[in-house]
C-alpha cells in the first residue's frame, strides 16, 4: 500500500545529524501473542512527533521498548546514532531518553522532591532533600511547569502529578521525552499548556514523542505523525502539514469497515431506552453527561470509542453498581434506574463486563459456584435456604458440555481457566432464558481469534433468538462486523449514531478523535 502519504513520509528532509531515536523491525510478543511486528519509528532532534493509532495498536508497547521497560524480541534501536540495546529504564535514562507513562509512576506517599531523589539513586551528586527540592524548583521555573517540591504526590492533582513526572524525567537527563497519552487525563486548558511546553522543548533542540488519539492536537502542536495499526507502523513520520484528518482516520482504522456478520434478525420495538444519563467519574475515569440511546429487540447497537471515555461508568450505571447518577433507564417499559442489581437481573438485564475477573467471575470459587452465582437466589439449587452442591455440579456439567468449556470440571476453580474458556463460563451464565438485554463490554478483549469468534457468534445467536445487545467495544472491527447501528462515545456522551451501512471512515474517525 504505497500512497501519496507514505511518499510524503519518505520525502522528509535529511537533516544531516543522526536521528534522536531510530527503531527498525521491532517485534514483541506477550505470551505468544504479537503486540508488535516489524514496527519502526524515526524521531529527529528538534521535533514533536505524534504517534496515533487505535487502542491496542502497540503504541505504548513500542515506546516501552524504546524506554527499556520491555526488551524487544527482535529489531534494532539506536539513540543519537549509536546502536544500543537497553535492558532497563535506568539505561534508557542514562542514554538520555525519559518516558512519562500512561499510568504515573510516582510514590504517592513521598513528596515531589523525595521522588526525584529516589530516581537519582545512590551514585548521583544530589544527596540531600534540600538539594533535590532546589533543583526541582529551578527546573520547574526553567521549563515553565509550576510544581511545589514539598507537596505530597498523593495531594497533587492529575495535571500536577504529570508535571512532577516530567520534571523528574528531565532532571534525570532526558533529551528525548516520550509522553504516553498525556492529554487523556487533562482538561482542554491543561492540555494546551502541556502541548505548548512540548513545542518549546523541541524548539530548544530536544525531541518529544506524543502518543495521542486526538487529531486536533496532532495538527496544532506536532511536526510529524506516525500511525500504528495491529502492531505495525502503517505510516512512518509524515509531515503533519501533508496529511488530512480523513486520511489519518482511514489509516488508523484500516480495513475494519469491510467485514460483515451481524445477526440476521431485524430490529423490533424499543426494549431499552436510556435518557439524559449523568454520573460521576470513577477514579481516572470520565463522567457521563446527558447520555442517551435506544436499543431495540433483535438489535445489536455497537458503541465504539476510545477507552476511558465513560464506558466503565456507563456499564456501572446500567448494571446498578453506581446508583448515584441522574437520568432514566427504562427496560421493557419499566424504569429500573433506582433498582438494585438483582432486580435489574430479574428484569432481564445481563452483562459481560470488560474485566471478567473484576466484576463477572470470582477466581477462587469453583466453576460450578460461578455458574450458580446468579441463580441461587431464585431457589433453583435446593430451595429457599439450603444449597444442593450436587444440583450445582450437575448444572455445571451440562454448561461445560453445551459451551465446550475446555479444561473445566465443575469443582475446579475458575482461576485455572484460560481467558477464552473463562469467557465461556460467563457466557453460559449470562445467556440464559431470562436474557432480554445483554450489555457486552469488550467481550472478546484478550482472546485469541477462535475464542473471539465463539463469543461473537454466541452473542449473534442470542440476539437472533430475540434478545437485544449493547456492544461496547474499543475494537472497531468488532463493532462494525456485529452491529446494526453504530454509536460513538466520546467524553461521556454519545457523539453520534448511524446505521452501520452509512458509517464512513471519516465520520467515525472524526468522532473517535473528538472533533465533531
Amino acid at each position: 500500500m504505497t500512497t501519496a502519504l507514505q511518499q510524503a513520509g519518505d520525502m522528509r528532509q535529511p537533516l544531516g545529524t543522526p536521528a534522536a531515536l531510530l527503531m527498525r523491525g521491532i517485534g514483541k510478543s506477550f505470551d505468544g501473542k504479537a503486540a508488535l511486528r516489524d514496527a519502526s519509528f524515526c524521531l529527529e532532534w528538534g521535533e514533536v512527533h505524534a504517534i496515533v493509532g487505535e487502542n491496542g495498536a502497540g503504541k505504548s508497547t513500542l515506546m516501552n521498548v524504546a524506554a527499556g521497560v520491555y526488551v524487544a524480541d527482535g529489531g534494532d534501536q539506536s539513540i543519537d546514532g549509536e546502536a544500543i540495546s537497553l535492558r532497563s529504564p535506568l539505561e534508557a535514562a542514562a542514554a538520555g531518553l525519559g518516558m512519562v507513562h500512561q499510568h504515573f509512576r510516582l510514590v504517592e506517599s513521598f513528596t515531589v522532591a523525595e521522588n526525584v531523589l529516589l530516581g537519582f539513586g545512590r551514585k548521583a551528586a544530589v544527596k540531600t532533600l534540600t538539594d533535590a527540592a532546589a533543583i526541582v524548583s529551578a527546573k520547574s521555573s526553567e521549563i515553565g511547569l509550576p510544581v511545589d517540591p514539598h507537596k505530597l504526590v498523593a495531594n497533587l492533582s492529575i495535571a500536577e502529578r504529570q508535571r512532577a513526572e516530567i520534571i523528574k524525567v528531565m532532571l534525570l537527563g532526558a533529551r528525548i521525552l516520550v509522553m504516553d497519552e498525556p492529554t487523556a487525563v487533562l482538561t482542554d486548558e491543561e492540555a494546551r499548556t502541556l502541548l505548548s511546553f512540548a513545542q518549546r522543548l523541541s524548539r530548544q533542540g530536544h525531541a518529544v514523542v506524543l502518543i495521542t488519539h486526538k487529531f486536533r492536537e496532532v495538527a496544532a502542536f506536532c511536526d510529524r505523525v506516525t500511525i500504528m495499526r495491529h502492531g505495525e507502523t502503517v505510516l512512518e513520520g509524515a509531515r503533519v502539514a501533508n496529511v488530512t484528518e480523513a486520511e489519518v482516520a482511514r489509516l488508523m482504522v484500516g480495513d475494519a469497515l469491510t467485514v460483515a456478520g451481524r445477526p440476521l434478525s431485524r430490529p423490533g420495538d424499543v426494549c431499552l431506552s436510556v435518557e439524559r444519563l449523568s454520573a460521576r467519574a470513577t477514579a481516572h475515569g470520565q463522567s457521563l453527561n446527558d447520555l442517551g440511546f435506544e436499543l431495540h429487540v433483535g438489535e445489536i447497537l455497537g458503541i465504539a470509542g476510545v477507552g476511558g471515555n465513560g464506558q466503565e461508568e456507563l456499564v456501572a450505571c446500567l448494571l446498578g453498581l453506581d446508583r448515584a447518577g441522574a437520568g432514566a433507564i427504562v427496560l421493557d417499559g419499566q424504569d429500573i434506574s433506582t433498582a438494585k442489581p438483582d432486580q435489574r437481573r430479574e428484569a432481564g438485564l445481563r452483562v459481560i463486563p470488560s474485566d471478567r475477573f473484576d466484576s463477572g467471575l470470582i477466581r477462587e470459587l469453583s466453576i460450578a459456584d460461578n455458574l450458580a452465582l446468579t441463580t441461587v437466589a431464585s431457589g433453583s439449587f435446593g430451595g429457599p435456604f439450603l444449597l444442593s452442591r450436587r444440583a450445582m455440579r450437575e448444572k455445571a456439567a451440562e454448561a461445560i458440555d453445551a459451551f465446550d468449556i475446555r479444561g473445566a470440571t465443575p469443582e475446579r476453580p475458575a482461576s485455572l481457566l484460560s481467558g477464552g474458556n473463562a469467557q465461556k463460563v460467563l457466557l453460559a451464565r449470562e445467556l440464559d432464558h431470562g436474557l432480554k438485554v445483554l450489555i457486552a463490554h469488550s467481550p472478546s478483549r484478550g482472546l485469541d481469534m477462535k475464542a473471539a469468534e465463539f463469543v461473537r457468534s454466541a452473542i449473534r445467536r442470542a440476539v437472533e433468538a430475540g434478545a437485544a445487545c449493547l456492544l461496547i467495544s474499543e475494537d472497531l472491527q468488532e463493532v462494525m462486523s456485529l452491529s446494526h447501528r453504530v454509536a460513538v462515545m466520546n467524553r461521556g456522551r454519545i457523539a453520534g449514531c448511524r446505521q452501520t451501512g452509512d458509517v464512513t471512515p471519516e465520520w467515525i474517525g472524526g468522532l473517535l478523535a473528538g472533533h465533531a
Binding site: L321, P341, I362, L373, V376, A377, F385, L387, R412, L416
Partner: protein
C-alpha cells in the same frame, strides 16, 4: 544466588502438597516449642509425660482440655465467620468482655424465675457482643474506618470498662481482690461430674453444629465466600452483599459475647480481671489454622485446649510462665503459616 531466583505462584496446589506442608509446619512448630520448654528448664523426658500422657491419656487431663476448649470454639468461630467476609475482627476480647459484663449483670441482679436465668444471660451476652462489634462495623461502612484498628482499640475500652466495674460497684466487699461476688447457683452451668466440665458443652455443640450447617450447607456460606473473595463481583451478580456482611460480622460479635458468658457461668462463676485474657490471640490462631471452616475450628480448639492443659501442669510443676504458652501458640502458628508459603509458591531459577 538467591537474587537470581524468583517466586512463582502455584496455580493449583494439590491436596497432598497442602496437607504435607500443613503437617510439616505443625511438626516444626511443636519442635520449636519443645526446644523452648527444654531451654526454660523442663526436662525433655517430662515433655512426653506432660504433653501426651497427662493431657490426652488421663481422665483429668481430658476433662480439663474439653472445658478449656469450650470458649475457644466460640471465639474461633467468631473470628472465622468474620474472616469469611474479609472482616478482620481483632476485637474478639472486647466483645467477650462485653458478653461477660452482660451475663454478670444478669447473674448479680437476676430476678424472676431461676430457669430463665441462664437463657437471659445467653441472650444478653450475645446482644452485648454484637453491639460492641456494631460500632466498628458502622464506622467501616459509613466512613471506611479500618476495622483492624477500631476493633482492637475497642477491646481495650471494654477492658477498662470491666476494671471500672470491678474496682467500683461490682467489687465484692468480702474479697481483697477486684472481683465480683460469686454468682448464685442459678447462673451456673450444671457441672456434669467429670472434672470441671459443665453443661455449656451442649450449648457449644449446638452452636458449632448450626454454624457448620449454615456455612457449609446453606446459601449463606456460599454468599459469604463470594462476598469475601470478590465483593464487587458479588454485587454485580446481584448477591445481597451488605446483609451477608453485616449479618456475619454481628454474628461474630455475638459468638464472642457468648464465649464471655461461657467462662463466667461455666468455670469462674464470677467476673474477674483475667477471664478474657489471651482469647484474642487464640481466636486468630484457631481461625487461621482452621481456615475459617467450622468443623476444623472445633478440632483445633481442642488441640489448643490441650496446650492450655499442658501449660497449666507446666506452670505448677516447673514454674513456666503464662507467656510461654502464648509463645508456643505463636511458634506453631508462624511455622504453619510459613509452611503454607511453600504450598502456595514454588521457587524458580531464570532460564539463562
Amino acid at each position: 544466588m538467591l537474587d537470581t531466583a524468583f517466586l512463582v505462584r502455584r496455580q493449583n496446589p494439590g491436596f497432598l502438597l497442602t496437607s504435607l506442608s500443613y503437617v510439616g509446619g505443625l511438626l516444626v512448630g511443636l519442635t520449636v516449642s519443645a526446644v523452648l520448654l527444654v531451654h526454660a528448664g523442663v526436662p525433655a523426658s517430662a515433655l512426653v509425660d506432660e504433653f501426651l500422657i497427662a493431657t490426652f491419656l488421663t481422665s483429668d487431663g481430658l476433662s480439663q482440655t474439653a472445658t478449656a476448649a469450650l470458649p475457644l470454639v466460640l471465639v474461633g468461630l467468631a473470628s472465622g465467620v468474620a474472616m469469611r467476609v474479609r472482616f478482620w475482627n481483632i476485637g474478639v476480647e472486647g466483645q467477650l468482655w462485653l458478653g461477660a459484663i452482660a451475663s454478670t449483670w444478669v447473674a448479680l441482679n437476676g430476678s424472676g424465675p431461676e430457669v430463665l436465668r441462664l437463657p437471659t444471660m445467653f441472650v444478653l451476652a450475645a446482644l452485648a457482643g454484637a453491639a460492641w462489634i456494631a460500632i466498628p462495623l458502622f464506622l467501616k461502612l459509613k466512613w471506611g474506618v479500618n476495622e483492624v484498628i477500631s476493633t482492637l482499640l475497642l477491646g481495650s475500652v471494654a477492658f477498662l470498662l470491666v476494671q471500672h466495674l470491678l474496682f467500683g460497684v461490682w467489687r465484692d466487699p468480702s474479697n481483697s481482690f477486684p472481683v465480683t461476688a460469686t454468682f448464685p447457683e442459678a447462673s451456673w452451668f450444671l457441672v456434669l461430674g467429670w472434672g470441671q466440665l459443665h453443661a455449656g458443652i451442649f450449648l457449644v455443640a449446638v452452636i458449632a453444629l448450626s454454624i457448620w450447617f449454615v456455612m457449609e450447607h446453606s446459601r449463606v456460606g456460599f454468599y459469604a465466600d463470594a462476598v469475601g473473595f470478590n465483593a464487587k463481583a458479588a454485587l454485580a451478580t446481584g448477591l445481597p452483599v451488605l446483609s451477608i456482611a453485616v449479618g456475619l460480622v454481628l454474628l461474630s460479635g455475638a459468638l464472642s459475647g457468648v464465649a464471655g458468658m461461657m467462662i463466667v457461668a461455666g468455670t469462674e462463676h464470677r467476673l474477674n480481671q483475667s477471664v478474657g485474657n489471651g482469647y484474642l490471640f487464640s481466636a486468630i490462631v484457631i481461625a487461621y489454622l482452621a481456615r475459617a471452616k467450622p468443623l476444623w475450628v472445633v478440632v483445633i480448639s481442642f488441640a489448643l485446649g490441650a496446650v492450655f492443659t499442658a501449660g497449666n501442669v507446666l506452670k505448677v510443676f516447673y514454674s513456666i510462665s503464662e507467656a510461654m504458652i502464648v509463645l508456643m501458640q505463636g511458634a506453631v502458628l508462624m511455622s504453619i503459616l510459613m509452611a503454607q508459603f511453600f504450598s502456595s509458591y514454588s521457587l524458580k531459577r531464570p532460564k539463562n
